[in-house]
């Protein structure tokens, strides 16, 4: 079949052109979420309502919202594209994204809920000196959120440009403006409900897509695997490829994905929205189930796209491979799922999937903005500058100002990094979260002799080593700065930077004994384990 390669650009799709369906679904989703925001705004007056939805969210609702926060557009579009183009490697990668959830449950979910108020810094600073710990924790929290946000904003601009044909800058401003409406007026309650709506839409959309794919293969998974394998015999889609070539690198990536979750401020913040530790626990089970289901069915969509997007001539001969069609729209494979939606059920379904992807971006950025803002307004302004003596009114005002500032910074950074390859920033956010935030959080919960300076050094060393090693690695040093050789040989530094953070925290704690913090540890246990005095 010699003409196969030339046929790909001729593939007809409404992708990239605003259709009645895509614009209609988009406006419907925005309209519904804004109505929710209006409703939430009337219930959002106090700081506890603004940051934590008045602790009124049920376990099932929080489970959906957690899943919504975690199932970003990058994981939906990115992983399905990765499976379509690289096969089994995409499945290995997807697996790692779930593994943090059980660890979150076993190590921090309940103590976090019992000890904290609005942010993870509340827990780290619980029996230590507020000033230094809060400032260090806010640095870790803001670094994590800002890199995660930049990756989301830049990715969202290009995705919206690809799907709706909208200019990049307009897309950034639109995302920034709509999500600010959610956060500013509806606080955590609106952000939670936007997240729930999006999670339900996304899960339904991907489920329908999966069922449609499977219907082409007699609802047999092996038949789908066989079709993918037979269509691309040279690629060995069903066996491991380059992703796990270096075992140390693979383990380091696994550590960053697993423990990074335990240090993501926008995830940790959600545990304060439920009434108690039991609800926090059950919500993790819901979230793990939903996210696990998502990662089980996403590869089906990926393999399906690789097979079903192939173009056949009238005589049944193959004119273009599915992978070529996918690459002709986006080299990274991000458009595999939307294109498949169109091929299965026409442009209306594509419009629905595109609108859901847009809603996903809005919701995730809203959650990040609230988390980033609270690191400043709650940890620095209220706890350090006002020494915890701010009125409700001052607290909410500070939170709203920080929200607007963070939102503007997010849009500006998104525009500034336009066209850059920022995929590494998600990895960076997870590496910082795993190295700067998680070790300090865990040690503060379980280690009696942990001290103020132990916390500060652990956070700073974790942040500095993870950022430093990523800058010196191939992704930044060679690909971005165009130096010839990478100084740090691995893709993900977590295995070293996380160990360094634990070591720094232990050494600094042993060198600066803090009897006061030690004596509070025993009484803290009543709150950690029994929830006595929890807010």
């Amino acid at each position: 079949m010699p003409p196969a390669t030339t046929a790909a650009p001729a593939y007809e799709s409404t992708l990239g052109h605003p259709t009645f369906a895509s614009v209609g679904f988009f406006f419907l989703i925005v309209l519904v979420t804004l109505i929710v925001t209006y409703w939430a705004a009337r219930k959002t007056k106090t700081s506890s309502e603004y940051y934590a939805a008045g602790r009124s969210v049920s376990a099932a609702q929080n489970g959906l919202a957690l899943a919504g926060d975690y199932m970003s557009a990058a994981s939906f579009l990115g992983i399905s594209g990765m499976v379509a183009l690289k096969g089994y490697d995409g499945m290995i990668y997807a697996t790692g994204w779930l593994m943090g959830w059980p660890a979150l449950m076993f190590l921090v979910a309940e103590p976090l809920r019992n000890l904290g108020k609005f942010t993870f810094a509340d827990v780290v600073a619980y029996r230590l000196r507020q000033g230094p710990v809060r400032i260090a924790a806010a640095v870790g929290g803001i670094l994590t959120t800002i890199f995660y946000t930049i990756a989301q904003m830049v990715g969202s601009g290009s995705l919206i440009a690809l799907m709706f044909g909208m200019p990049f800058v307009l897309a950034e401003v639109l995302v920034g403006a709509v999500m600010l409406l959610y956060v500013l007026f509806g606080g955590m309650l609106a952000t939670t409900w936007v997240q729930i709506i999006k999670a339900v839409l996304l899960l339904c959309g991907v489920t329908v897509l999966t069922v449609l794919v499977l219907s082409h293969f007699g609802f047999s998974l092996p038949a789908l695997y066989k079709a993918a394998n037979d269509l691309y015999p040279a690629q060995h889609l069903l066996v491991p490829g380059d992703l796990t070539k270096s075992p140390v690198d693979a383990i380091s990536l696994g550590l960053a994905l697993m423990f990074g979750l335990l240090g993501l401020p926008h995830i940790l913040m959600r545990f304060y929205t439920v009434p108690d530790a039991k609800a926090a626990r059950v919500s993790v089970l819901y979230a793990t189930g939903l996210i696990g289901y998502f990662y089980v069915i996403i590869p089906i969509v990926g393999f399906g796209a690789a097979v079903l997007l192939s173009v056949k001539g009238a005589d049944g001969s193959l004119l273009a491979f599915g992978q070529e069609v996918i690459r002709s729209f986006d080299k990274g494979g991000n458009m595999a799922a939307p294109l498949l939606a169109e091929a299965m059920w026409g442009s209306a379904f594509l419009g629905f999937i595109a609108a859901v992807a847009f809603a996903t971006i809005l919701a995730v950025v809203a959650g990040l903005t609230l988390a980033g803002a609270s690191a400043y307004s709650h940890d620095i302004y209220v706890s350090v500058i006002k020494k915890g003596r701010a009125t409700e009114e001052e607290q909410v005002k500070a939170a709203k100002i920080a929200t607007v500032v963070f939102g503007i910074v997010a849009v500006a950074m998104g525009i500034a990094f336009q066209g850059q390859n920022v995929a590494f920033m998600v990895g960076l956010a997870f590496a910082i979260a795993a190295s700067a935030n998680f070790p300090a959080l865990l040690m503060s919960i379980v280690w009696k002799r942990f001290t103020t300076w132990g916390a500060v050094w652990s956070i700073l060393v974790g942040a500095a080593t993870s950022v430093g090693m990523i800058v010196l690695s191939k992704t930044v040093w060679v690909d971005l700065f165009h130096f010839e050789h990478a100084i740090f040989p691995m893709k993900n530094p977590a295995i070293f930077s996380m160990s360094a953070a634990f070591l720094a925290g232990i050494v600094a704690s042993l060198l600066t004994p803090e009897p006061e913090a030690q004596s509070k540890f025993e009484s803290e246990k009543l709150r950690t384990y029994l929830g006595i005095g929890a807010e």
Binding site: T95, A103, V239, P240, I251, G254, V284, S523, Y529, I532
Partner: protein, 113 residues
């Protein structure tokens, strides 16, 4: 934070509770349960990654010799690892709901008296 502000007899009760064998056992059991589950998670996930990284030939082995049966060990392990992680989470929740929570309630009531 408010534990320090309590009247003297309440904080005496609190100290007694913290030092009581029942509370110590509660803390110890929770630590043991979560550690065991965490170790199982590590063995499951990092074992899977190491197997894929070091023995791709084993992962590529097909489950059946029939020419059409293409499913290999890796495809099953990939989905299996996801299900395993969820099952560990579910085990923790069942344990906590059945055995941890009632004990917490009992100890909290002790403090009130």
């Amino acid at each position: 934070m408010d534990t320090t502000a309590r009247p003297a007899d309440a904080s005496k009760n609190a100290t007694e509770l913290i030092e009581s064998p029942a509370f110590r056992a509660l803390v110890k059991t929770r630590f043991a349960v979560s550690s065991v589950l965490l170790v199982l998670l590590f063995i499951g996930y990092y074992g899977y990654i190491l197997l894929v990284a070091t023995r791709p030939d084993v992962v590529a082995r097909r489950l059946s010799d029939a020419p059409d049966a293409i499913t290999n060990l890796g495809l099953v392990l990939g989905i299996g690892t996801l299900i395993f992680a969820w099952v560990l989470t579910a085990i923790y929740v069942v344990w906590a709901n059945r055995s941890y929570d009632p004990e917490v309630e009992r100890l909290k009531n002790q403090l009130k008296r």
